[in-house]
Every structure is written in C-alpha cells, then in structure tokens.
C-alpha cells in the first residue's frame, strides 16, 4: 500500500533549485532508504515530508505530496497536526536539556494525549520500551536526557518521536554520529518499528540501506535517479549512475 505519494516536487533555496521533479511513492509499514552523495537533496526531500523546510525563510516547495489522500503542501494543511502524524529523528541526537521523562512526555503533553499522570507514565514507558531504552533508564527517568551516551540519546530521540504515535517516522542519517554498536542497536530498532510505522531513512552508508530497507531511492544532483526495491537497486540497478554509486566509483 502506498502511504506517501509525491508528485513533481521541486524545491528552491532562493534562486537555486535543489530538487527537480521528484516523483516517489513510499510504501506503508516498510523502510524506505534514500541514498546518494552529499548535497544530492535527499535530506531536503525528507524535510519536505513534514514541512520542516518551512523553517528556512528562503526555501520554497512546489508540487504535491499526498499523505492519506491529503496534499500537505495545501494551504489548509496545519503543520502542527502534520508533524504530530509524521515524526522525525535528526542526524545529531538532540534531546531537550530536560529529564528523560520530560523529553518523552513533551509531545503527548502539547497534543493533549494523556488525561492523567498514570496515562502519561504509561506512554513514557511504552515509548521507551519500543525504543529499547526502558531497561537502561527506568531507574533514572528524572535525570537529564543529555547525560546519556550518544546511542542512548538517539534512542531517546526515537522514543520521543514515537511517543505521539506517528504514522510515519523520518530519520535523517540517525546513525552518523554513533559508533558501530549503537548503530546496530538502532538498526535493529528500525526493523522492529516498521511493524507500526512507515519509516523513511536518509543514510550515507550503503551497507545500512541494504540492511534495513525494503525500498531504496537513489538521488543525484537533486534528481531521483532510480527507485525500487532495495534488492533490485543493489543487485541489478537499471541506471549506470546508480551502479557507479553503489559500487563505490563516486560519491
């Protein structure tokens, strides 16, 4: 099933065009990896999906991105509601400089998801369990989230993102600041999370894309060169550029 359907998406930073006519469908409850060399526009595309590009003054997005039969670039779209449905995990772990508990409870609080303290405790617990962090932090929920290790912080950020039960989780190179062990934990987690969420992950590591994703899109110089099932992209790419990239000839 198609979860996200993007049609003719163009993105401009001022006068410079960063994305050219992107048409990409994202499958529900699967992991889609976006790969490509630095500056190819894969992160820009990711940020279109929850309209994080709105933050950048000079950035303009054209085209349609349809999620649940609804164009998120439409004027009637409320970004707060949109971002409640589409969570995001960033490249560098960015927990709030608050306690672990407050980090998780922030989203549910502002969206009014818990009526009582008990409910909130439950949300915090399930979110942390889903992010495979509960066992490590259950005794220090009220200590600052910034005191955790890098990998733990990133899992905290994932727990924070899933606390509002988003349908889609966007991950922007979530492992680039982590060591291999922490990376393995996150990858395992992604595999687990795809049961309940649709995941789109931007990654620099082709091995990672091959390990965690079912679908892959290859971006180059602002264009979507090729997309399809991960198996096909890695074993039998149609485009010469894709082949050159995945075999390490450039990028």
């Amino acid at each position: 099933m198609i979860k996200i359907n993007s049609k003719n998406v163009d993105v401009f930073y001022g006068k410079k065009q960063a994305l050219f006519n992107i048409n990409l469908d994202i499958e529900e409850n699967q992991v889609t990896a976006l790969i490509g060399p630095s500056g190819c526009g894969k992160s820009t595309f990711l940020r279109c999906l929850n309209r994080m590009n709105d933050v950048i003054d000079i950035c303009r997005v054209k085209g349609q991105i349809i999620i649940n039969d609804f164009d998120i670039n439409d004027k009637s779209c409320d970004v707060v509601r949109l971002r409640e449905k589409i969570g995001m995990v960033f490249q560098k772990p960015n927990p709030f400089p608050k306690t672990i508990y407050e980090n998780i409870s922030y989203g549910p609080t502002i969206h009014g998801m818990a009526q009582s303290k008990n409910e909130m405790d439950e949300i915090v617990e399930t979110s942390l369990k889903k992010a495979a962090l509960w066992e490590e932090v259950k005794d220090r929920l009220h200590e600052p989230g910034t005191g955790l290790s890098g990998g733990q912080q990133q899992r905290l950020c994932i727990a924070r993102a899933i606390s509002v039960k988003p349908e889609v989780i966007l991950m922007d190179e979530p492992c680039s600041a982590l060591d291999p062990i922490a990376t393995a934990q996150i990858e395992e987690l992604i595999d687990e999370l795809k049961k309940d969420h649709t995941i789109i992950i931007v990654t620099h590591s082709m091995a990672q894309a091959a390990r965690v994703s079912q679908n892959t899109g290859f971006f180059h110089l602002g264009e979507l060169i090729e997309h399809g099932s991960t198996d096909k992209i890695f074993k039998n790419p149609e485009n010469k550029k894709t082949q050159d990239y995945i075999t390490g000839r450039f990028g």
């Binding site: 960015n94 400089p97 989203g107 502002i110 509002v164």
Partner: protein, 422 residues
Amino acid sequence: MNKNKEQLLNKRYKAEKRFRLYGQSAIFMALLFLTIFIFKIFSTGYSAFQKTWLIVPVTFDAELMMLEQNPSKEDLKDADYYDIALKSMADLDPNANEDQENELKRMVSYFFEREIKRELLNDPSLIGKTKDVYLTASDDLDQVFKGNYPRDLPEDQRRVTDYQLKIFDQLVELGKVESKFNLSFFTYPDSREAELAGIASSFMGSIFSILVCLMIAFPVAVLAAIYLEEFAPKNRFTDFIEVNINNLAAVPSIVFGLLGLGILLAVFQLPRSTPLVGGITLSLMTLPTIIIACRASLKAVPPSIREAALAMGASKMQTTMHHTVPLSMPGTLSGTIIGLAQALGETAPLILIGMVAFVNTIPGSPLDPAASLPVQIYIWAESAERGFVEKVSACIMVLLGFLIIMNLFAQIIRHKFEKKWS
C-alpha cells in the same frame, strides 16, 4: 637552509615571549591602577564608619525642663530640653564666659538636644538625676579625633577654636571621648551637618530607581528580543531596527536625562526628583543592554533544539516559550543584572531630572523625592566641610560593594544555570 630555519624558529620564540610580556605588563598595569584606586578609597573612607561621641554628664533638672510633678509620657515629649542640654555643655568648663559657652555648645552636633531627650524617654526615672550621655561630636572634632584635622593651622584659618581644642583634649584625657561604629551613616538621611549625614535616603532612592527600571526594562526588552530573534522576518527593516538598538546602547546617558526632563517631567508632569522618573529614565538606558544580551543568548540556543520541538509538532510559540526562552534565561538574567549595575552607577541623567536635590527624608515609595548613591557622592564631593571627604569615600565603598555583589550574582547565574552544549 637548516640554519635559516633555526633562525626563523628563534625569531618565533622571541616574538611569543615578547607578546606574553606585553600581556603580562598590561595586566600588571591594570591591577596597579585598581589597587591604588581601592587603597585610596579605603584609606580615606574607612574612618567614616566610626563616629566620635562626647560623654557628657547631663543633669535632668525638672525645673529647667519645665516639668511638673509626676509627668506623663506626653509631658516628657513636650518638655524643654534645650536648657539642660545647653547647661550640661556649659558645665564642662565652670569658668566659661558667654562666648566660650557658645563655643562649648558647638562642640556637639545640633542634634544633642534630641539625644538627651531620647535618653530620658528611654528611662523616665532619670528625672532629677545626673547621667553620662553620649552626644555626637561636631564634624570638625570628629575629624580632630580621627587625626584628619590640621591642628597646627593658625586659629583664624580653622573652624575649631583653640578653646574648643583645649576642652576637647581635656575630655580625651579623662576618657570622655569615644569612637563607636557609625550606625547613623546607614540609617540617617542626608544632612547639611557632616556628622549627621547618612546614606539612607540615597540608598533607598537607588533601590527604588533600580526596581522601577527593572520592572519596565526587563519585560519590554525581553519581548522585543524574542520577537526580533525568533519571529520577525529578516529583512532591511529589522536590520535597521537592530542597528538602532545598538546605537541606542552607545548614546551618552546625559541625553537620556534630557529626554526624561523634556518628556517625563515637562510633558507628563511626573513628580520631580523621584525614583519613579529616575527609574524610567534609567530603563531607557538599560533597555538596549538587555535586548542585546537576550538576543545573544537566544542565538546561542542551538537550532537543533528548535528543530526537535518543531518536529514534535510544537507551534512556533510553544517552541519559543517551552524551549528557547527558558534556555536563554541565564544569559538574559546576567545581562539584565549587568545592565542594572550600570544603571545603579549612573549619575548624569539623574542630576538632570532633579534627583540631585537635597533630600533629608527617607523615601518610602518611588513617588517620594530621593537622591541616589552616585548622586549622593556627587553632592558630598561638592560640599566644603572636611567631614564630607570621608563620607564620599565611604559612599563609594557602599556603591562598589553593591556593584560587586550584583556582578558576582550575574556570574553565579551564568555559571550555575548555563547549559553546556556538546
């Protein structure tokens, strides 16, 4: 080739050594000036915290006080103390003629009558008895006792007469002159008599001014800074505003004083010489300082925190109020305190709005006339009496102490609450 390299290396070492030397000598100079300054102020000022008292036997003669038998408390308050006060001073030298009696009277402050009255009100049973009472020495004798008075000047060039000195020396020998902690320096308002002048009115004036300044400048500045930094579009107009805020911070303070005079006093008819007007004028000065500090600390909050909040579905306002502003508060607060410390030391604008007036009452609200500490320094420094010299230094010490405490507080806030970003 190798030799050349060695030479280069040596040159570099020497340059580094020289640079260190310059830096060290600069710091040494700065410390030297500071030490001289502090030493000068302390050595002149410390004696103002001591006050000289003459211990004079006073006979509470009911007849002289016009008191009837078994007087009530009211009677005691209304009684005439001038005669017994005068008599006790005159009694110091039984052979004194009229002129000399007058000189004797001038050895103590004009407050002596009230000091005697207070003694009796504290203990009404003293009527008819004689008791040693502490009387504030005149400012000149105070200085004589502290050793600051040039006794060897010819008599017609000093205010203390030879006769007064003679009697005073006798009292000193008898142990009837005592130096005690000068509490009245902190509890009395300003006075024309140096021995009675205190900083209470100017101190309260400063406190009220600073409070008014804080209450106006802080909210306005913080809101302005948040809007400019987080919400305003970045365009020519906001650039223009930013430049002007920076310019405002560089405007000489006397210009703000003129503004206060022209607008607050002339147009709005606010009461002259009051901490209210002083505070408003100072707040104009403090405003750019706080705006700049607040904007800088908002800028220092990493964008990743804003992104995290936005991505969680927080609105712009929630992101700002829940995350950015709380994180910027330590920097904002320490900037505010530093701005207030500047305002506390400001003199020129306050002189223009009339806070330089002689105020001998302690203000109870920002609407009462008051002086302020730096203006008090200015007023006293202009006074001719020798007794005010040490008061000036003492007042500077109080002001400096205040500033040091505020700056220390700013430092503590900054260090304690500032988050370290990895």
